[in-house]
Homo-oligomer: 267 residues x 2
DNA sequence: TAGTGGTCTAGACCACCTG
DNA sequence: AGGTGGTCTAGACCACTAC
């Protein structure tokens, strides 16, 4: 019986999701509206696992946009790991197992599944920075940095311990603001705009302080994220050192395999 | 003195990297050749930290390619976390601290820094799959799967324990082949082409078997990667369950911050 | 052979930032 | 005002896959 289902899925015909026609007056890019529509169609079951999407040219005609716009939209969904494309074949919806959650945003998965997020600020002060932090931020050792330490909760249960360091001082970052808004949102409000970040993900045993805050045994494994964010001037504007309880937090990272056409880089 | 250096860096003029003119006859896309040239210029110091790149239009004229091609090339480097772009401002090289390594590919960092990688195959056989693996691969429990267990070394020191499961059978995957080539390269040779993958990264304590293989204490923290790869039909074709010694292996994941223009998705 | 996605062009208008 | 990146168009040719 289940074998039959597999065959039936494999022979799903071409499907054209009922994408709402894009709104050209607003500030939202066409490709983004189309990508959102495709994701909605997948999440809502209109595009079931294994379905063959209509061709790019067909979608262009139907929506009245250029092919590049459609391609950018589809590319966005491919990068999220929901679609698969192959030249000469077409575009299909990935067949996720039953247990998989379809779409998890990288850092906001606390809000998902109705888990109520909250934040407790443990520390918020200017201090001279140590050598490690100075090197990461491109400062001299001992320069003044803003140091923030928070604990993140979901439904009252501790998820992670977050340390953040900002060079100099940033207005508008107060204890109360940090307990309702995200750090990046506050930084943006203060005119400090993060554009790209370099991140390292690893693991280690918890320190005794962390074990107390996270309610785990000392030395129990934690997932670590080490991040440096940069502004438009290319300067490091934030350094994050976070650790998470691995039973309550993990990272989702979709991946595209490189094309094999470019084995050799042209002279 | 160092303050002076900072100012000098901030006032670096526009720089045009000496990109080799692209080769249009080969199979390598123009945008890929240009992106490689930019990365080479950054790694080689020709584009120092904080340098302002020439404008997209200037680069178009200089290289004789269209603007979209240049944009795609630059986008690629931005996605690797080496450049920062902002409308009305320009494109700059990120200022990495002295200790940072400039560029690390996600899974091949074993080769970097002259560390000699090797692989030992512990298991390679067909077996009926358990419920967990069946669910991930979209199979019925008990279906035959190819199970591969390997240990990865760098300079003779164990790095990680890798379990992989392939549905059915795949020709050409032998013990000898696995010790010299990567699994994905062998799969591709057998006509099984991975296109996208969903991955989960987490942490846990090592099992007793893992602790023996990795030469760590039992229960010591390991970094885990749980992956499912998909082919053009949208079918799961591989499931990986890996764990790594966190002192010898970590993941690098550059990140772009979302534009804030698209807060609301157009109706 | 017909259809697919992958690449590329030569324009255009816009929002944004700096002078 | 002039320059920057962000978006979009309407074409074109190519490589690949299936039939």
């Amino acid at each position: 019986m289940k074998g039959v289902i597999r065959v039936a899925e494999a022979e799903l015909g071409v499907l054209a999701p009922s994408l709402l026609l894009p709104n050209r007056s607003g500030p939202v890019p066409l490709w983004y509206q189309i990508a959102s529509g495709i994701i909605r169609a997948i999440d809502g079951g209109e595009l079931p696992a294994g379905a063959l999407l209509e061709s790019e040219r067909a979608m262009c005609d139907r929506l009245g946009v250029s092919r590049l716009t459609v391609r950018r939209a589809i590319q966005d969904v491919v990068d999220k790991g929901l679609l698969v494309r192959r030249r000469g074949v077409g575009t299909r919806v990935v067949r996720l197992g039953s247990g998989q959650h379809n779409l998890t945003s990288l850092f906001e998965e606390l809000q998902a599944a109705g888990r109520r997020p909250s934040t407790k600020v443990l520390e918020l002060r200017r201090e001279p920075c140590g050598g490690e932090v100075a090197e990461r931020l491109g400062l001299q050792e001992g320069s003044a940095v803003f140091h923030i330490q928070r604990v993140r909760f979901a439904d009252g249960a501790p998820i992670g311990v977050l340390h953040n360091y900002l060079p100099g001082s940033v207005r508008g970052i107060t204890l109360g603001a940090l307990e309702t808004d995200g750090l990046y949102s506050l930084m943006r409000s203060a005119g400090v705009v993060p554009l790209v970040a370099r991140q390292h993900v690893g693991a280690r045993g918890s320190t005794s302080r962390e074990s107390l805050l996270l309610a785990i045994e000392r030395g129990a494994p934690v997932l670590t994220v080490d991040r440096i964010a940069f502004n438009a001037a290319g300067e490091a504007i934030e350094h994050g050192l976070h650790c998470y309880r691995p039973d309550r937090y993990s990272l989702d990272l979709p991946m595209r395999f490189e094309d094999q056409t470019r084995g050799r880089i042209g002279a």
